[in-house]
Amino acid sequence: MSGPMVEVDSVSKWFGDLVAVSDVSFTVGPGVTALLGPNGAGKSTLLRLLTGQATPSSGSVRVLGGDPRADEAVRAQVGVLPQQEQLFEHLRAERFVEIAAILQGVPDPLDAARRALAQVEMDPDDTRRVQTYSKGMRQRVKLAQAIVHEPRVVFLDEPLTGLDPRQRAHLVDLMHGLGARGVCVLVSSHVLEEVERFGSDIVVIAQGRLAAQGDFHGIRALMDDRPMRVRLRSDQPSKLAGGLLDQGVVVGLQLGDDGEVVIDTEDAGAFARTVAVVARERDVRLDEVVPLDDDLESVFRYLVDPR
């Protein structure tokens, strides 16, 4: 399939007065795509719309060309790892995944369940019920049930939560393996560094709106180049501030107490390259450089509304 496997067209979803998703449009093709956004941005709502668990208030979603809510043929080719931890607590992992395989129409469900569990490094012969499992084990069981039927599209909602670093690396490899086979893997996360490992394609959601879509590095550069406020501390703050103004890399500054200078820059990259050079040239000791709005929330806010 050469065209997009997932299409979101002018989708909005609201619950009473609360707008969870607002006029979002994007398409996703084969391979791994990250859905990035802070908590509460609307990622899970979007995934619920894409998996047919909820209907858009306006707009439409298409998965493999069909409606994931109404079309059973679409649901047959989709795997979902939901965010919530709860499973059928009285079942063993093997039975839980086998039930998923049966309900997906897999010809040999037990064998498929055992293979899927092995893929996520879980022991198919574990006799414990899933109610005794840790969060990381639950995540892996949820992933096993999502891939047991070898779906063409996989939606994963924060799949790395609760996993240790080695398990994370294994699951990222597994996702890349699926993507390399032409599976469309859409994986949500609120952690920028996590998303970097998923691959180059990302969709950024913030405040229920599409903030950006495209290559990770391009969007990362956009994030890095946004206007920033930085606090500097130096033994000669006035001299340092003058040097930075001369270089034209700051658009505003305030001198504070104890050698503090707070600057505003519209080119964080150029500022970062310049500040140490200016300090050295003017023989100023640079004690501290602290970005004041480098949290992910402010990055997303900027992407949504750059003014």
Partner: protein, 245 residues
């Protein structure tokens, strides 16, 4: 990548899988204790009725006044309301609804799972209670009326458990206020109470008159079963329309 033919589960295997999960999820200590308490009270009342001067009349009153008015509806409520309601609450329902199978399979499997637990937990103690009266007519009447009642109430409360939160409270309000009070006000309103039909079946078998229990045997079987079936259809419809968390 070529597009393979999508896999679909067979209806029978899908039904069996959903049924087995839901059946096992019913086994919870608090619920079983509640059902056990109802059964013990029914048995005690049956034993007391059997030792009285008029075991047929007293047995009829015990089954009609307590068994069909409390044990059957409350027992069905405890089981059926949680069958899908618990899954909706803990958000595991999506492990069924995201699968490529018709929603009615889930609804019917849930109804059967609720019936599988409720019939032995509710109808069997009532039959034993009627056996203690020593009256064959009461045994036959309680068996038939309890089965019909369980079928209707399980369907009704299965749907209720899915569409409202705090289904136990709403269900108890229906049993106590609607069926126990409002629908007892007259023959017309009694037509809207399942209890009226189950009591009519008991009266038909025992020939002992109960108030507002004069429906024909045919309609007393057909209408409650139809109510259960319609409620299951509404459950399937709700599964298809509601947003799943």
């Amino acid at each position: 990548m070529s597009a393979p033919t999508p896999l679909r589960p067979g209806l029978a295997s899908a039904f069996t899988a959903v049924y087995s999960v839901l059946l096992r999820s019913q086994v919870k200590t608090g619920r079983l204790l509640g059902l056990g308490a109802l059964a013990v009270v029914a048995l005690l009342l049956g034993a007391v009725a059997g030792t009285g001067d008029d075991p047929l009349g007293d047995g009829n009153q015990v089954i009609g006044g307590f068994g069909l008015a409390v044990v059957v509806p409350v027992g069905a409520l405890l089981i059926a309301a949680s069958t899908l309601g618990d899954l909706a609450e803990d958000r595991t329902l999506l492990y069924f609804t995201m699968r490529p199978m018709p929603r009615w399979v889930i609804a019917v499997a849930a109804w059967f799972a609720a019936l599988t637990v409720t019939i032995p937990a509710v109808a069997v103690p009532l039959v034993f209670s009627s056996l203690l009266t020593g009256q064959g007519a009461v045994v036959a009447g309680s068996t038939l009326s309890a089965l019909v009642g369980v079928i209707a109430y399980c369907g009704l409360f299965l749907w209720l458990g899915l569409v409202v939160s705090r289904a136990l409270i709403w269900g108890l309000a229906y049993i106590l206020i609607w069926e126990g009070f409002v629908a007892s006000a007259g023959a017309g309103l009694a037509r809207l109470a399942i209890r009226s039909y189950t009591r009519s079946l008991l009266t038909w078998q025992t020939d002992v008159e109960l108030t507002l229990a004069d429906r024909s045997p045919f309609w007393s079987v057909v209408i409650p079963i139809a109510v259960g079936a319609v409620a299951v259809a509404l459950t399937a419809r709700s599964l298809g329309r509601r947003d799943i968390d």
